[in-house]
């Protein structure tokens, strides 16, 4: 099916496909708005998940490293935004004053009096790259101990790291309050682009004014996330067809042969972890701004597994497949919630399977069924030229030298 977008072999078809897709994507929020905000909101979250899935795809799909703690990078991006774009820092500072006054003074000197009172409020233009960098750093850091480990062990260790980060997020509210513990951080600034807040001005009922246009806030975020998604897809595609991308796949296919061909597997793996993590960090930062608050609940192991399920369902290593997987597993449960719950109420008088259960059921089934019956995913990459050609029969060693026949 990837022949739909194959620019090299069938450019006209590819460009038409892109055009249709582009129009559909652009028009979607305007059409959906007629039915309320929830559909666009679902897509917003789905886009965030798609970014996550693409990031995980670099680690799992391209390099073959099963990272089960991936959500940690989402959490890092989100919490970083929580600290750097909300009043939280003021609270952090205050708690330092009580416990470690010297550090408190130092921090106050660095950030200035305003920030000490109101918290730090960096703009989105800084938050996004910072989130990417922070996540990339941690990606390499957490990947480092796993470099010599084999598949299953690597998975468990990364899972452990993910859990460790979540436990820290949940508990770093005493003795000094950094993450505000289980309550999380709220009042996070929405994204502001050129002075326009994507959450709309207070009192506007979450509507963004652009000159004479006004669009709902969720629509504004939709376009922002769509743009970021496109960037991430672009980067992924470029990576895939590059020397580095080949190195990733070589490591996945046969690490020993890769080493023998001169690939420094340690560095390349760290790069994979870092790059993959950076996508997660960006997505997390956007999530924090979009939702306005972050709490440790959003970053459980189930979320790591959900992202993995998206990659697996769609087609490990195949970018359009991963996008599809993300779309299905992120949007479908929400869509079903709107459909299935009322349906059950009508049929049975009560809700037997609620949306949360449905969501988990889908994830579990996706992974088991796909691995058993279609491990390459719903939309796998098209095979290389594997047709058994009649022409290809002519091979070099079929000269049948007469000398040997005797």
């Amino acid at each position: 099916m990837s022949t739909l977008f194959d620019v090299k072999n069938n450019p006209r078809k590819a460009y038409i496909s892109f055009a249709i897709l582009g129009i559909a994507l652009f028009a979607f929020p305007f059409i959906a708005s007629n039915f309320g905000n929830s559909w666009v909101r679902i897509m917003d979250l789905a886009l965030l998940y798609i970014m996550l899935a693409l990031g995980l795809n670099i680690v799992v799909g391209m390099a073959g490293l099963l990272d089960l703690g991936y959500i940690a990078f989402y959490a890092l991006g989100a919490y970083m935004t929580g600290l750097l774009a909300s009043p939280q820092f003021a609270a952090v500072l205050e708690s330092f004053v009580n416990q470690y006054p010297m550090i408190a003074d130092g921090l106050r000197a660095i950030v200035g009096e305003d920030a000490a009172r109101d918290g730090i409020h960096l703009s989105v233009w800084l938050i996004v790259p910072l989130g990417a960098l922070l996540a990339a750093f941690f990606g390499a850091l957490l990947g480092a101990p796993t470099l010599k480990l084999r598949g299953d062990y690597l998975a468990i260790v990364t899972l452990g790291f993910g859990e460790i980060i979540r436990i820290f997020m949940n508990n770093l509210n005493a003795p000094v309050n950094i993450t505000n513990g289980p309550q999380g951080i709220n009042l996070i600034d929405p994204v502001r682009i050129f002075g326009v807040s994507l959450a709309g001005e207070p009192g506007s009922n979450a509507t963004v004014q652009l000159g004479s246009f006004s669009i709902p806030s969720v629509n504004a975020y939709y376009f922002l996330f769509l743009f970021l998604c496109a960037v991430i897809i672009f980067v992924s595609v470029r990576l895939q067809h590059s020397r580095l991308g080949r190195a990733f796949v070589a490591i996945r296919e046969d690490e020993i042969a890769a080493k023998a061909m001169g690939i420094n597997t340690r560095n390349v793996k760290l790069l994979a972890f870092g790059l993959g993590a950076s996508f997660g960090g960006v997505s997390g930062a956007m999530f924090a701004s979009f939702q306005g608050f972050v709490s440790p609940e959003s970053f459980s192991l189930m979320e790591s597994i959900a992202v993995l399920a998206m990659v697996v369902l769609g087609g490990i290593g195949h970018i359009p497949g991963v996008v599809l997987g993300g779309l299905i597993l992120a949007a479908l449960p929400e869509v079903l919630r709107h459909v299935v719950e009322p349906l059950q109420r009508n049929l049975f008088g009560t809700v037997l399977i609620d949306a949360e259960v449905l969501r988990q059921l889908l994830y579990g089934l996706a992974m088991v069924v796909i691995m058993l019956y279609r491990p390459e995913g719903l939309w796998p990459s098209p095979k290389h030229e594997d047709r058994v050609d009649a022409n290809a029969k002519k091979r070099h060693d079929e000269k049948e030298p007469a000398a040997l026949a005797a």
């Binding site: 101990p145 480990l149 299953d152 899972l159 508990n171 399920a309 399977i353 691995m371």
Partner: protein, 309 residues
């Protein structure tokens, strides 16, 4: 000093449960080279079935002694867990025996999620309290308290482990299991039916997990659909610590991890000047796992785990 003894006791209790579950992981790993990610959820199934049975017993036969009630609960949980584990092997893992290693692991994760989801559907989302069936007086050992439930747990765990050792060392099936773990193909040539051995392995693992599950629920007085995942991971860490694939290693690793966790949680406040408290307890298992895999992947008693060229 009595805090120390208390932590030791807690650690032994915790460790025995880890050991029981770690045995399941290590045995499956020994024959299939697979981490049965869903094993912790088998513990959960055991606990859920156990609590259901206990609730029934409380209402129809409340005068039975606590030990008997727990015993019935365990005996009821075992077949369910065995059936679940055997079905999992048959449906999810058997087809993937020769697949690249990521595939069975991903499937195992999916199975784990499905088990939790089904448990959620059957028993709901909220924790279910375990009826207090054992008498509440605790024993006092050198100033530390140990409840009767905990004593029962230690006794049961010991019986189970001794029983397993006898099975593995002295019986025909045990020999077959050891042979298959060493070299499935050659064992097959000697007439060992590897499928039967594998099913037996899953069944035994499930039995141990069922016991651990019911006792875990009794010890912590509640059971919930998500309760299996963390103990499962920790038990896996214990198995790695002791040497994956090695039964004695799993037992040693389990008890050791329990002690590390208990003592660590007790003293971490002192060690870090109050910065980290006992709610960081869960981290210990992961830290141990990471350290072991980084420095000595073969664990305390295990064979080499690292890849050869």
């Amino acid at each position: 000093m009595d805090t120390f003894i208390q932590q030791i006791i807690n650690g032994l209790v915790l460790g025995s449960m880890y050991a029981l579950v770690a045995l399941g992981y290590t045995m499956v790993y020994g024959v299939l080279n697979l981490i049965n990610f869903a094993h912790g959820d088998v513990l959960m199934v055991g606990a859920m079935v156990g609590v259901t049975i206990l609730q029934i017993l409380q209402s129809i036969a409340p005068e039975l002694p606590g030990i008997v009630k727990l015993g019935i609960a365990i005996l009821g949980a075992i077949p369910v867990c065995v059936i679940v584990n055997v079905i999992i092997e048959r449906v999810a893992y058997r087809r993937l025996r020769n697949a690249p290693r990521l595939a069975p692991l991903i499937t195992a994760i999916g199975v784990s999620i499905l088990l939790q989801t089904f448990a959620m559907m059957i028993w709901g989302r909220s924790p279910i309290p375990f009826p207090q069936v054992m008498p509440t007086e605790s024993f006092n050992i050198m100033g530390a308290l140990i409840s009767q439930t905990q004593v029962m747990l230690l006794i049961l765990a010991t019986i189970a482990m001794v029983g397993l050792v006898l099975l593995v060392e002295k019986t025909r099936m045990g020999r077959a299991m050891r042979a298959t773990a060493e070299n499935p193909r050659v064992a097959g040539l000697m007439g060992v039916d590897s499928n039967r051995v594998i099913v037996m392995t899953f069944a035994i693992g499930a039995t141990l997990a069922a016991v651990a599950g019911v006792m875990w629920g009794a010890n912590y007085s509640s059971a919930q659909f998500a309760m299996g995942f963390v103990p499962g991971l920790k038990a896996f860490s214990a198995a790695v610590l002791g040497g994956i694939g090695n039964i004695y290693g799993a037992m040693v690793g389990g008890v050791l991890l329990g002690l590390i966790e208990s003592l660590g949680a007790g003293y971490i406040g002192d060690l870090t000047g109050g910065f980290l408290g006992s709610h960081y307890q869960d981290i210990f298992a992961f830290v141990v796992l990471i350290i072991v895999l980084t420095l000595r992947p073969s664990g305390i008693m295990g064979e080499r785990v690292a890849d050869r060229a």
